[in-house]
């Protein structure tokens, strides 16, 4: 292999990206050295097993990926803004919509949600950490280095270019000869193992570590949504593991799974991919439903309407999510019978989802509504998501789908469910729980400006795509002629994309502004919350709860405030047992990164060495003896006094 095959060459934009990557890396290294922060970074972040810090790292990584994926989106909109545009060539456009999809779903939406659940779940159930703190750190570093591996493809070797769904035979070495799709199979594999471990960790945490008295039906709705999401992860991700392994075998080891000859079956890929891919959609949407349930109940000052039906509908959605995958490829030649069955299962999902929409509306009814930033996102979500849902039912009808399949109508539909559904939810959740982690609220005025920019621009960007799709514009086309008449609406969409960019920049500026000027929150409960996480001081001490709370009903903290009853017994503090920090998960992630990178280029010897290092980190883990440490009563007293001031 020559150097010009190794690095991506010939594109001014890519050279600029290389220069910026090098400059940013140099700046980070120089900054850390100058301010003598290496030790701090290693001790407090890279080796941490604290669920709150891991959550924060997930969210930072997700925000970075949001901007990477956002730049991809802007480039696509810019390329299609005018007919016959020459900004990007066909290959580059293919790579950009592929990485946009992968990054936004797997390296933005999911880690953002996993970050929020890391921060919130142990606090909501009254636990001191997750069930397996070390495994949690392993999950994060596998995700992180998987994401880095995929991003590396931009400058080294070339990005995947067969769409985020990587259909065969397009993704085979015959039609996609660069190493791009090797990056796809290996980076998603590494990150996917991390996600599976997260699913197991949170299932066990929620089942086994709830505060005394918190039965399943007394759990906050967000905890319920994560419990169900964890089950979906555990059942869906192994399918992705197999699909990606078969893809790697086909591309790099000459097997015939998805080949066009020797008995191979390209449709097998589509089936395997979507058996994972459709539940994946619900992995990112159910937690969002949970976040909205918390926010709407808090800011309407009412208990959540229809708690039981909320739980039942989520369970129903999780089961149906495994029975609808064929609707992603109705037009790929199944019989009428198959398409009909999957049409019906798909439309059936609208029923439990509709139940949830009405429950939120009834929660709002006669509530004393506070229009805070998180609440604005929740309120905007309901109508916009309903548009997405209704167009989804249109697409669910197999015979009608032949009309819209693979058009911009579909693109508009899934952005209408994913952006108000997942993206609004994680932004709302991030505003909502931010004071819990950092001890101050984000500025409300800036937050509302960002909200209006995002909510309005979102509709300006994506509503025109519905019309374009119905007019016949297919997705993934990198340019079109003027005579199609697609130009003006695409230009309008571009204007919306610029508005969205401004909104997201305001969101980031708000972090800077609030860090410098926002008033500290001393109560720990700035929103007058309902669930246990608000009973802790902000920022939350390492051990979360000085004494384990005792729960008697749903919304325990709310009632303890209203009825003036304590959440804990009168007993004295006891020493708290906590796990120790360790660098092994980080080193394991680095080893996995190199293993993946060498595998991408089929450099077997280095790959085997890196693989042995991975095994070595596992061996280290099994032989190490680490019993954690105890936090003494005096230290707990000191911390509680400092955080709660005069209250205690």
């Amino acid at each position: 292999m020559k150097w010009d095959e190794f690095f991506v060459t010939g594109e001014p934009m890519i050279y600029a990206a290389m220069v910026s990557i090098v400059l940013v890396s140099v700046a980070i290294v120089a900054g850390l050295t100058y301010f003598k922060k290496w030790g701090y970074l290693w001790r407090n972040w890279l080796t941490t097993v604290d669920h709150k810090k891991i959550g924060v790292m997930y969210i930072i990584a997700a925000l970075l990926m949001l901007f990477r994926g956002g730049v991809d989106a802007l480039l696509m909109r810019a390329q299609t803004a005018v007919p016959e545009n020459g900004l990007l060539d066909g290959q580059h456009y293919n790579e950009i919509f592929t990485t946009h999809g992968i990054i936004m779903i797997l390296f933005m939406a999911m880690p953002f949600i996993i970050g929020l659940m890391n921060v919130v779940i142990p606090l909501q159930i009254g636990a001191r950490d997750v069930a397996f703190p070390r495994l949690n750190a392993v999950s994060f570093w596998l995700f992180f280095f998987g994401a880095m591996l995929l991003n590396l493809s931009f400058v080294i070797g070339g990005s995947p270019d067969a769409g985020w769904s990587a259909y065969f035979p397009l993704a085979s070495t015959e039609f996609s000869p660069t190493v791009g799709n090797n990056y796809y199979s290996l980076s998603l594999q590494i990150a996917g193992i991390g996600t599976l471990m997260t699913g197991i960790n949170f299932l066990v945490t929620i089942l086994k570590m709830r505060a005394p008295g918190m039965t399943l039906m007394k759990m906050p709705m967000f905890t319920w949504s994560i419990l169900i999401t964890s089950v979906i992860i555990i059942f869906a991700f192994p399918v992705l593991t197999v699909a990606l392994a078969l893809m790697m075998l086909d591309r790099q080891f000459g097997t015939q799974f998805f080949a066009m000859q020797n008995g191979g079956m390209d449709m097998l890929w589509a089936n395997l991919f979507w058996v994972w891919g459709h539940p994946e959609v619900y992995i990112v949407i159910l937690p969002a439903f949970g976040i909205y349930s918390e926010i709407i109940a808090t800011f309407a000052r009412k208990n959540l309407y229809g708690y039981k039906s909320m739980v039942i509908s989520m369970v129903a959605i999780s089961m149906l999510s495994f029975l609808v995958w064929v609707h992603h490829f109705y037009t790929m030649g199944h019989g009428v019978m198959v398409n009909s069955v999957f049409s019906i299962t798909t439309m059936a999902i609208a029923i439990p989802t509709g139940v949830k929409i009405f429950n939120w509306l009834f929660t709002l009814r006669k509530g004393k509504i506070t229009f805070s930033t998180p609440m604005l996102y929740a309120l905007a979500f309901i109508p916009i998501f309903t548009i997405g849902g209704v167009t989804g039912v249109m697409l669910a009808m197999a015979s009608a789908d032949y009309q819209y399949h693979n058009t911009m109508f579909l693109v508009a539909h899934f952005h209408y469910v994913l952006i108000p559904g997942t993206v609004f939810a994680v932004i709302a959740g991030y505003h909502y729980w931010f004071p819990k982690v950092f001890g101050f609220r984000l500025n409300e005025k800036l937050g509302k400006w960002a909200f209006w920019f995002i909510a309005i621009s979102f509709n300006v960007t994506f509503f025109p795509l519905f019309i374009l799709g119905l007019n016949g514009m297919t997705r993934r086309m990198y340019t079109y002629s003027e005579s199609t008449g697609f130009g003006p609406l695409n230009m309008l969409s571009m204007v919306g994309a610029v508005g969205l960019t401004i909104g997201f920049l305001l969101l980031v500026y708000n972090i800077y502004w609030s860090t410098r000027y926002a008033k500290r929150d001393t109560t720990g409960d700035p929103w007058d919350g309902r669930s246990l996480e608000w009973s802790t001081p902000s920022p939350v001490p390492e051990y979360n709860f000085a004494k384990t709370p005792v729960v008697t009903k749903l919304d325990a903290f709310w009632f303890s405030k209203k009825e003036n009853t304590p959440l804990t017994d009168d007993g004295d503090y006891e020493p708290i047992h906590m796990p120790n920090n360790n660098g092994q998960p980080f080193i394991m992630g680095v080893a996995f990164f190199f293993f993946g990178f060498f595998m991408v280029f089929s450099w077997w010897i280095p790959a085997i060495i890196a693989g042995l290092v991975v095994l070595g980190t596992m061996a280290y883990r099994t032989f190490e003896q680490d019993h954690g440490h105890h936090i003494s009563v005096e230290e707990i007293e000191r911390t509680e006094k400092a955080l709660r001031g005069e209250q205690s």
């Binding site: 699913g199 960790n201 015939q256 080949a259 008995g263």
Partner: protein
Amino acid sequence: MKIDHAKPLEYSTEENRLKILGFWVFLGAEIVLFSTLFAVYFTLVNRTGNGPAGSHIFELTPVMVETIVLLSSSFTIGLGIHAMRIGAKKAMMTFFGITLVLGAVFLGVEITEFVTYVHEGATIQTSAFLSSLFTLLGTHGAHVTFGLLWGSAILFQVKKRGLTPETANKSFIFSLYWHFLDVVWIFIFSFVYLKGMM
């Protein structure tokens, strides 16, 4: 750390109980993984292209040896856990040792079998059927290989540190893993080999 002496050693602490439940959940995910591989195999089993079908290459003798060896190893690890429960460290280590040796024999026979297939011109690249066969068997074999390394590491720890709540917990979890591999093999034996030879 609170040790509950009413429970067996491997369940005696809160952390131990969490780990055992977590591993059961992990085995649930493993069931999905192998189910997917079986589904792929059943989809492709008749798509032999220009290569041989299963009935041409499968031989009963090595497969029977593998089956008997692996089933026996599941029995011996069960005896090992029983010995662990009554605190017989030496007997436990012996049974674990026998289990690992049987696992190694299984692996040896399986590798020989693979070599035979390849010599008969049936490689992983020949046809979709053979790709799925080698992948399904190979994934199981890779699990056994990993199990040999993991089991040896645990055996070493038991020898050095004795039967503590940690080592007992690890040994018990390893036995769950080993039984699981046996269950998968029963499906491979029935639905890949026996059905393929009919």
